[in-house]
Subunit: 318 residues, 2 copies
């Protein structure tokens, strides 16, 4: 018996290889009758176990069931996006003659929704240390500021975040990096993600963060002419408050909220070091079993409901 | 519209909350007819989207389809095991008066199969540094030696690995740790995992690694009287070769292989520092997008087919 499938298949099929098993009728599954299999065929044209396991209606129902559970973690990309992200040009980054990329931690392609339910695309600059550990974009201090901004616009989950560069850059986004951002291999990967996201999701707004992202995006053809908002980077040293306060009402006006009740047009004021300008990264954006201080500004001992608001998916369930 | 479900649901249902949506007939899914929904009900008693999304036959078929894809990563535990691992007594570890636990990286509950297809349970000691990053058990040097041992017995994927302590310990597994291993809260969590794994999987062998794991397991009641093999820890400084060579034929005799063709009863010999005594941790055991040098003994530049054999799921597909 090549695989331990005692719990899944009828006895007579257990000696078969996985390749053979996937081509069997669903009737081969333990507990599925010939009549059951016939109904699957009549309803959805399903004639094999593979077709059953990849059926789009089941996948949609499973995604909805997951949404209703307030998921505890992000399991990683579904097959479509797994294949898309596999096109990330690792060797181009690793061998780049500029030496401007940190290569030891690989690329970080995304954070957020890959289930065709994003309304907002965020394009940042590059992943940094927190992102190297979490393997997701924008989870450190800048990410937590972005999270708060999205929350103020009423967005709890309907976003997808990518970066200008999938690899961490060394030094600042200076003129050299602006040129590198336009190199075809880097540009094509980024724009293929953008175009595909737009094809598959009901996108209402694209937010760029920082001058590097803005300039990188200036040469994109924006095929569906989506509304773009060019914001200062969340880590900008000066002018951030004015810039974000200018954009906040525009974002609110242009984005359908996940939850209208949480929209908060109150302008930013006070110190940016304050926790009130940040929000924890939702656990449903992070991989399974990441230490629970990750995506927050501190350890358990100095977290508290008075400091940083927790986002849960259930804040939009009712 | 609370959620961006344009791509999943019929127009008339899109304003509903997720809680309401999950109770709708599958007919509410875009592309599912009344007649299709009726057949789902007749075949499997499915009357709601939630029931469709959680249907065990779909789940089994999806697991098989995934097995046939040579999965690139471990998405994390399915709901049953997510809930089980959520019972890990974090605060007990964090506040333990001995101060013997590294608390900042949380617990690491497992590596391997959680889909009811494991034949071997491995019980190690505690997670260390590599495991803190990977969030999976036994991925460093010791884990790579274990992986090679399993491979020599013909096992490529049908294992599940847990630890005596889900948290990393400070210092050695001395007498104090042996006593702590028997404290009810720690023992109960460990043994609940064991008992549940045995209930759900066709387990043929339990391998303990190191004297700490052996002693911890000596008080377990072993409800189905499974065969246990007490091996030296892969990091043991002395006696490892003799000990593993004694056990290797016993393991081969007692465990149904995933692939009989790879069984290798050749005794271990030579330096344990050699790569021939290790094997890369399969990518299907690691989370999405972990840097690709992780789970191996080196960076890309010093890896090669002559050094460390790669395991892929497809080595058992035919």
């Amino acid at each position: 018996m090549p695989l331990a499938l005692e719990n899944l298949l009828d006895v007579k099929h257990r000696e078969k290889s996985i390749v053979e098993i996937l081509e069997l009728s669903p009737e081969a599954l333990k507990g599925v009758s010939n009549s059951d299999a016939q109904k699957l065929k009549e309803a959805f044209g399903i004639t094999t176990i593979r077709q059953l396991g990849e059926n789009k209606f089941f996948m949609a129902a499973a995604a909805l069931a997951r949404a209703g559970m307030n998921p505890d973690y992000d399991p990683g990309p579904p097959p479509f996006w797994l294949n898309k992200f596999a096109q990330l040009p690792d060797s181009y980054y690793v061998n780049h003659p500029s030496g401007r990329f940190r290569v030891h931690f690989g690329g970080v392609p995304y954070r957020g929704r890959l289930d065709d339910t994003a309304r907002v695309i965020v394009v940042g600059q590059d992943p940094s240390t927190d992102e190297a550990i979490a393997r997701r974009a924008f989870v450190g201090n800048a990410g937590q500021r972005l999270q708060k901004l999205l929350y103020k616009t009423g967005i709890v989950r309907s976003y997808i975040i990518i970066n200008t560069f999938a690899y961490s850059i060394i030094g600042q986004a200076n003129n050299e990096m602006r040129i590198i951002a336009q190199e075809p291999i880097i540009k094509n990967f980024r724009e293929d993600l953008l175009n595909t996201l737009i094809e598959r999701n009901p996108i209402e707004a694209i937010i760029t963060l920082g001058v590097g992202a803005k300039e990188a995006m200036s040469t994109w053809n924006n095929p569906e002419n989506k509304q773009m908002f060019h914001l200062f980077h969340p880590s900008a040293q000066t002018g951030l408050e004015d810039n974000w306060n200018t954009h906040l009402p525009l974002l609110i006006a242009n984005i359908t909220p996940d939850n209208p009740a949480i929209i908060d047009a109150t302008p930013y004021s006070g110190e940016w070091s304050e926790n009130t300008h940040r929000m924890n990264i939702p656990r449903f954006d992070l991989p399974y079993n990441l230490p629970d201080w990750h995506g927050t500004e501190g350890t358990n001992s100095n977290r508290g409901p008075d400091k940083i608001k927790e986002i849960t998916w259930t804040s939009i369930l009712s």
